[in-house]
């Protein structure tokens, strides 16, 4: 990642820069390079194995949830219920009798099933009932939050240590969080080359043309929601593996983070332009900014302000860059 981020400064990469700008990923990568540089400056052992895998374990949920939002945004919709959905999935996981549902695998399977159900509800409301996604998913978000509070009025419950141990461990020498991200991104890469993935992009970039071309709009949008919510399930499992308990407010901040990451990643909120890779870059930028603020020893009263300024600066940068591109 850092190698790619350093590209604009090397001579041979000048030819790649216009291509990056066309993809909309250029500014995001530049920002990633800057925050990575700051991280390295503040934290000399940034590239040590322990530090890297710790960072990846922390960032993985954000990345997965941001990529989920990206898939929905690409289809020209939005989902403001992702954060509450993460909380609900987490509370369901923590309230299950861990041993009676088939151990860790059973718990995770139930988490994915719950996510698919939530995604189906959102997808049906938006695609089939024709409700505006912004308000409809805001409404379902309130419902998910209410359900999470019903299951677990206070933080509590237990998630089996086995899930936590597996998440912190490695598989074939690769840290499990990295593997989850790799699987998710590979899954999208395959889907994007498959007819269904191309349809999601087509519906997002020009719905009228897509319909004229015989693409089933409603089914395609529903599919986008289902794909996204499987990613949300993975994200919720990854957070739960770190907290090992339930919290009805656990996911709240992810909704807005996911929208910000999508914008930083150069994905047009108007749909159809950008790739989920952009959301990955955006999520990394957000995570590394938090790191920088933490490691720079900035007084806590300044943290919110600095974070807000960084996001505004990122937005301004994105917009100016985008207008130059147009």
């Amino acid at each position: 990642m850092s190698a790619a981020g350093g590209l604009p400064r090397t001579g041979s990469a000048l030819a790649i820069w216009p291509a990056l700008r066309r993809s909309g990923l250029g500014p995001g990568l530049l920002m990633l390079a800057v925050v990575t540089g700051l991280n390295i400056a503040l934290q000399p052992d940034f590239f040590s194995g322990a530090s890297l895998s710790g960072n990846i374990a922390t960032f993985a949920p954000t990345i997965l949830i941001c990529v989920a939002q990206a898939v929905i945004v690409l289809s020209r919709e939005l989902d403001l219920s992702l954060g509450a959905g993460v909380s609900l999935i987490n509370c369901v996981m923590a309230s299950l009798p861990q041993d009676k549902v088939g151990g860790p695998l059973g718990v995770m399977a139930i988490a994915i099933l719950v996510a698919i159900l939530l995604g189906a509800v959102n997808g049906l409301l938006v695609a089939y009932a024709g409700l505006p996604s912004l308000v409809a998913t805001f409404a379902t978000g309130a419902i998910w939050f209410g359900l999470a509070l019903t299951i677990m009025p206070q933080p509590g419950g237990v998630i089996s240590d086995a899930i936590g141990d597996r998440y912190a461990g490695t598989l074939m020498g690769i840290p499990v969080p990295l593997l989850i991200i790799a699987v998710a991104m590979t899954g999208w890469a395959i889907l994007a080359r498959h007819r269904s993935g191309r349809r999601i992009m087509a519906v997002g970039s020009n719905p009228q043309a897509a319909r004229d071309a015989g693409i089933p709009l409603r089914r395609t949008k529903l599919l986008a929601y289902l794909v996204a919510w499987i990613l949300v399930a993975l994200g919720a499992i990854a957070i739960s593996a770190q907290t090992l308990s339930g919290d009805p407010r656990l996911g709240t901040s992810y909704t807005l983070a996911s929208v910000a990451a999508v914008v930083i990643g150069g994905i047009s909120l108007g749909g159809g332009r950008g790739t989920p890779w952009g959301a990955l870059v955006g999520a990394l930028v957000l995570g590394l900014v938090t790191n920088v603020i933490y490691f720079a020893g900035i007084a806590s009263s300044w943290q919110e302000f600095v974070k807000g300024l960084v996001i505004v600066a990122a937005l301004g940068f994105m917009v100016l860059e985008g207008q130059r591109r147009a």
């Binding site: 020209r76 938006v126 108007g270 009263s301 807000g308 301004g316």
Partner: protein, 341 residues
């Protein structure tokens, strides 16, 4: 005119029905004091709903999620400047409203000039304003209590009518005139309905949108200032409960995110209806969880109702089955503004 009044009347009807249900289940729910209290709470919700009504009408997926931050800023800055003194209340009010207006203008510049989607722009600005407010408080440790005059305006009643409700009634009447009868209101809704046509017919679309967000920020800070009087003191997070509820009442009141409509009578009625609903649920000892779920279901119900009515209206107009495709335009952001190049 009759169609414009249908929704407000229906919403007030639902509110009365809820009050009667409350009285049947819990005797005393329908007392005059109770109704006054509920109108007080509705007044604040209604003021924040006005912010959303204006920016939603401006179109381009208009939305102002910084109303909470502006209100908190207005309350904290106002309390800091008035230092509990009656004499300093008016200048403090002016400063608070100006600060909120400035936040709104910055929002408007980001949205109308830089073409950042409103949802993203106002959220980002909100995080800066919130961060700046925390920072300011931690450095200056300002006074945070409301002056006696402000407490009287925010919390007391004159001749049985809460003062804040009088303020809301006056502002609401002004808003209805401004939005539906004044020349500026016509330009605002024309801009929201069709920015290109509005531009071609000589309206300064960018200036109108910036003014809409400026007005929203100023109103939010004003509401936050009054809220300080109602609660007695300003604190961080003062305006946060209104961020999303203001959007909800605007949508229930008949504002459509596609823009071009500014039905404030409906939004005001929706604020009353939602307040009664929440207080009924609270009185019935339905906790936060149940309230959230019912909240979401009510909002979904109103969205579906709107959708059905739009469908049947179109059917009546065209005389055939409505087009089965979903309204994709409703989801696109800023697609209605011509992009450079």
């Amino acid at each position: 005119m009759t169609r414009q009044l249908t929704r407000p009347l229906a919403l007030v009807g639902v509110a009365i029905l809820l009050l009667l249900v409350g009285q049947a289940l819990l005797p005393g729910f329908l007392s005059l004091g109770q109704i006054g209290n509920q109108l007080k709470i509705a007044a604040f919700l209604g003021l924040f709903g006005l912010c959303q009504t204006i920016v939603i009408a401006a179109g381009g997926q208009g939305l102002d999620l910084s109303v909470g931050a502006s209100a908190t800023l207005g309350g904290i800055l106002g309390a800091a400047l008035m230092q509990g003194s009656n004499g300093l209340t008016a200048p403090a009010l002016l400063a608070a409203v100006a600060a909120g207006g400035l936040v709104g203008v910055i929002n408007g510049i980001g949205i109308a000039l830089m073409r950042i989607p409103p949802l993203v722009a106002t959220l980002a600005i909100a995080s800066v304003v919130d961060g700046g407010t925390i920072l300011g408080v931690s450095i200056a440790h300002p006074a945070n209590s409301a002056s006696p005059v402000l407490v009287a305006i925010g919390g007391w009643a004159s001749a049985g009518v809460p003062n804040i409700v009088i303020v809301w009634a006056i502002l609401g009447a002004l808003a209805i005139w401004l939005l539906s009868a004044s020349a500026w209101g016509k330009r605002l809704t024309a801009t929201g309905a069709n920015p290109v046509a509005s531009l071609l017919s000589g309206n300064h679309v960018t200036a109108i949108r910036i003014a809409a967000y400026g007005l929203s920020g100023a109103l939010a800070a004003f509401a936050g200032f009054l809220l300080t009087g109602y609660v007695g003191q300003a604190f961080f997070g003062l305006g946060d409960p209104y961020i999303l509820t203001s959007v909800v009442v605007a949508v229930i009141g008949g504002a459509t995110l596609a823009g071009g409509r500014a039905p404030y009578a409906g939004v005001a009625a929706a604020a009353i209806m939602m307040t009664v609903l929440v207080s009924l649920l609270t009185a019935l000892a339905i906790g936060e969880a149940g309230r959230q779920i019912i909240f979401g279901l009510v909002l979904l119900g109103f969205l579906a109702l709107d959708r059905m009515m739009k469908g049947s209206l179109r059917m009546a107009m065209i005389g055939r089955r409505p087009n089965p495709a979903p309204p994709i335009a409703a989801a696109s952001s800023a697609a209605d503004t011509p992009r450079g190049g």
